[in-house]
């Protein structure tokens, strides 16, 4: 069972089993004390939790804005807010949910917390940079809040020119905030790539890398390559507004369609920054709760990379009616269908993983199933929108609104919640109420479909998006949709309730409550500040459920293993000492 065996470089390691300690007295949550220790921590887990707090706040704000929008849309014309306010509210809802919730939710929250644990590393490669990325996020957020309170922004989250270059409000502070935010995203991506390359525990070869790591790896590549384009675009937009340089302004010889190309060159890949980490979570959850080896490991791993790559080449499908050439439309439509294939392959692989499994219908697994259903529906409606002639009819209608909510909320938010419920015991060492979690999930599923299914119908019938006022024939659809949104609101209130209860009075969680084979479950819940008391050694794939648990709890046996100062805590857990020559 030696690791790192190859003809050129044979390295022999002595390993023994380290059973994770149950309910440890000291762990990362209490090893450093006080607010200052939290604010200056370089621990990836705490940074992940601080991100979690931040995005939970923004999700709440964005969610309240959504409920305001839906309430206003109960009646045509004015219900309780003016058109200008409505336009600001939908702009903020979009900008907050995308830039402050969806983009950091995958990599910065779940990724930060779980990536070093799954790699058996003590931390990410550049812990200080990781902390810096959090503060850059906070500064970006402050700029955005400043923009909201100094005139607001009514451009839509897309900031299309020339409207965004001429309208009132504080567009500059907002775009500057998003500009700053981008650096946070870039730093996280770079940190993850280096960590995955350089800090894998002995034995984690590329074909033993958890699929969640492959997904984060693919995401990081997109973050690094695409985000700078957004930065450039927003900088140009700011210069356009402040100095009138005329890149996008037709009056000065500029081209507004160029802005759309720049914007979507980032913002389409950004869709994959949001959803690909979700794919990673779903792979982990389905395998764990089916207690079965993942079907098609390489198909899932490589399809993430394929999506990341092809995802760069499909931005023009947001612009089929924008006035780009028909040749460009054809090429972008074609590539859009190609990107659908790896996504479909993933769905089938997950299904095949469930086949003949031992399926435990715990909350994370239910979320994964809801994800499969909603995301597949979102995917099919994406095929509809990729078809050129049909998109001409559906573009910029509620059909598109429904489609991307199915993909982003039905897809990413469900995957994020699957991950949050899955790793919750690891994060806090506490269990939550399965009963209330399932009630909340049921309401969320019903409410979500009530909200967005009618929007497909409305959109196909011609209801344009971003409409404050609408013609009477759509009113019943809008009302149904609004009631659905309230149901979702209730579901989230229940969720906040049982999570808070779990934090305060939850039952202690065992180190591995789901019986997973993955590495992050082979340490205590919550983990030590340095994740493991030993250097983990991996000899099996992360989904080898046919092999005994003891083979997944190995670590370097010698006392000088890089974690020497913690050794005294590990002595009592060694039982089946193994020695390999």
């Amino acid at each position: 069972m030696a690791t790192n065996d190859s003809t050129t470089n044979v390295k022999r390691l002595q390993v023994r089993r380290f059973k994770p300690e149950e309910n440890p007295e000291t762990h990362y949550l209490n090893q450093e004390k006080g607010l200052w220790a939290w604010l200056t921590t370089v621990d990836h887990k705490k940074i992940g939790l601080m991100y979690l707090g931040a995005i939970a706040f923004f999700f709440f704000v964005g969610g309240v804005l959504a409920l305001l929008l839906r309430t206003e849309l109960l009646t045509p014309a004015r219900s309780f807010m003016d058109a200008d306010v409505y336009n600001q509210v939908f702009t903020l809802h979009g900008a907050i949910m995308i830039f402050f919730f969806l983009i950091p939710a995958g990599p910065a929250v779940l990724g930060n917390f779980i990536l070093p644990l799954q790699l058996g590393a003590k931390d990410v490669a550049f812990p200080r940079l990781n902390l810096a990325s959090f503060y850059i996020y906070v500064i970006g957020a402050l700029f955005t809040l400043f923009a909201i309170f100094t005139g607001g922004v009514d451009t839509g989250w897309t900031f299309y020119t020339p409207y965004s270059a001429t309208t009132g409000g504080n567009v500059m502070a907002m775009t500057f905030g998003v500009f700053i935010l981008g650096f946070s995203s870039i730093l996280t991506g770079m940190n993850f790539i280096v960590t995955i390359h350089k800090m894998r525990a002995p034995g984690i070869t590329w074909n033993k890398l958890p699929l969640n790591m492959w997904a984060l790896y693919a995401t990081s590549i997109i973050q690094i390559l695409a985000t700078p384009v957004l930065a450039i675009t927003l900088l140009l937009l700011t210069m356009e507004r402040a100095l009138g340089i005329g890149i996008f302004d037709p009056a000065l010889g500029g081209d507004p369609v160029l802005y759309q190309h720049f914007f979507w060159f980032y913002s389409h890949p950004a869709v994959y920054i949001m959803i690909v980490p979700g794919f990673g979570v779903i792979s982990e959850v389905i395998s764990t709760f089916s207690r079965k080896i993942i079907f098609g490991y390489w198909a899932i791993a490589l399809s993430s990379l394929a999506i990341a790559f092809i995802g760069f080449l499909v931005w023009g499908h947001h612009m089929f009616t924008a006035g780009q050439s028909s040749l460009a439309n054809m090429v972008f439509s074609f590539l859009t269908f190609l990107v659908g294939i790896p996504t479909g392959i993933k769905i089938f692989n997950w299904l095949a993983t469930m086949y003949k499994g031992s399926i435990d219908m715990k909350t994370p697994m239910l979320y994964a199933m809801v994800f499969l259903f909603l995301f597949t529906l979102g995917g099919f409606t994406g095929i509809m929108l990729g078809a050129l002639s049909v998109d001409i009819h559906l573009h910029d209608t509620y059909y598109v609104v429904a489609h991307f909510h199915y993909v982003m909320m039905g897809g990413m938010v469900m995957a994020f919640l699957a991950g949050l419920h899955y790793w919750w015991p690891k994060m806090f060492g506490k269990m939550y109420s399965e009963f209330w979690a399932k009630i909340s999930l049921g309401l969320l599923f019903i409410g979500f479909n009530m909200t967005f299914l009618p929007q497909f119908v409305m959109g196909a019938q011609g209801m344009p998006r971003r409409y404050f006022n609408y013609i009477d024939q759509f009113q019943s659809f809008h009302q149904f949709s609004t009631i659905g949104a309230y149901v979702m609101g209730v579901a989230f209130v229940i969720m906040a309730g049982y999570m808070l209860h779990s934090l305060l009075k939850g039952k202690p969680a065992s180190a591995n409550p789901w019986g997973s084979r993955a590495l992050e479950w082979q340490t205590s819940s919550p983990p030590d500040l340095h994740n493991f008391h030993h250097t983990p050694v991996v000899i099996n794939g992360p989904y080898d459920y046919h092999k005994p648990m003891s083979e997944f709890q190995l670590g370097i046996a010698t006392s000088h293993n890089g974690h020497g100062h913690h050794d005294h805590k590990t002595v009592n857990v060694s039982k089946t000492e193994k020695e390999q020559a």
Binding site: Y160, S326, G344, V390
Partner: protein, 313 residues
């Protein structure tokens, strides 16, 4: 299932609509079949293979080349069909017949102007002959707009820096709603127009008389009609309500404070200037968003609007 998709779509009133709808149906039916299959599999698996004891042993099924090729190739074939179908339909949508009747469309925040070959301009009313291809040549005077007629399944963005076009052939004498579908600010959702389809004869009659029908009208009545027809009332109320622009009520000869502090009496010259050069002077508390009506309203029509405003005391 056909009924479901029919429920989803507005009536098809152009020659190209049916082809678009057929693809819409095809994708819907295929998707629903596949989605049902996947959903049934999820539910069946989670019941059939539910965990019975904590010691359950699961088989090692890591891959299956035949299965994987099948579920990659079949979807690939399906999406290629959809791609080809969608592309062919799109080619028809962007290729107007040579004999198409041309109408010039100008989008302004927040109204649509339609310029006809006779020089007549209609606002928010598009008049077209039935069973004859019509090509719209469109541009915007300010920000981006998008011209959309759901009944015809046509849409095209309207840009300030170039001409874009779309074409359709209406197949029945009726009216259809026209939307702006590219977000353009405060009154984006009020930037509606109506497409009126006439028989060829009626269309010609309308074209000949459109400009002169107002001749015999009383100026106040004409002014009131012009205010509606030119969408002035989208932003200016007649009853004192504050909309995007100042109300017309009590405007005549009132003292108005401008943004730069200047106080102006709203006389005939002021109103005329406000119509032709709306951004020359801006009322305090309002935004410079009104498009110019120079070229679309003649002097006599402006007179009529002034007469109408005089009555709103």
């Amino acid at each position: 299932m056909n009924r479901l998709t029919e429920f989803m779509l507005p009536p098809a009133k152009s020659t190209t609509a049916e082809a678009t709808d057929a693809l819409f149906h095809f994708i819907n039916v295929t998707s629903i079949i596949l989605l049902l299959g996947i959903t049934v599999a999820i539910i069946y698996f989670s019941w059939k293979y539910r965990r019975r004891s904590d010691d359950d042993v699961t088989p090692v099924i890591a891959h299956n080349s035949k299965l994987e090729i099948t579920w990659s190739v079949i979807p690939l074939i399906l999406v290629m069909i959809v791609f080809g179908w969608g592309f062919t339909g799109y080619i028809n949508l962007i290729t107007p017949p040579d004999d198409a009747y041309e109408i010039r469309v100008v989008g302004k925040s927040w109204l649509w102007e339609f310029h006809y070959e006779t020089g007549h301009v209609s606002v928010n009313e598009l008049h077209v002959p039935v069973n004859r291809p019509v090509k719209l040549i469109m541009s915007s005077d300010d920000v981006l707009h998008s011209f959309y007629i759901p009944d015809y399944r046509v849409k095209m963005d309207v840009l300030p820096n170039r001409y874009t076009s779309l074409w359709f052939e209406a197949t029945e004498i009726s009216e259809s709603v026209i939307y702006c579908t590219e977000y353009c600010g405060t009154a984006h959702s009020n930037m509606l127009a109506t497409a009126h389809v006439h028989s060829q004869e009626d269309f010609e009659t309308w074209l000949e008389t459109a400009g002169s029908a107002d001749d015999d009208m009383d100026p106040v009545e004409l002014g009131e009609q012009l205010v509606t027809r030119n969408a002035c009332n989208t932003c200016h109320s007649a009853d004192g309500t504050r909309l995007i622009g100042p109300t017309f009520q009590g405007l005549w000869m009132a003292e108005r404070t401008m943004q730069d502090g200047e106080v102006v009496v709203a006389d005939a010259n002021y109103i005329r200037e406000s119509i032709l050069e709306p951004n020359a002077r801006i009322n305090e508390g309002y935004d410079p968003v009104m498009p110019s009506y120079a070229g679309s309203l003649d002097d006599r029509q402006i007179d009529a609007i002034i007469e109408y405003i005089k009555t709103l005391q």
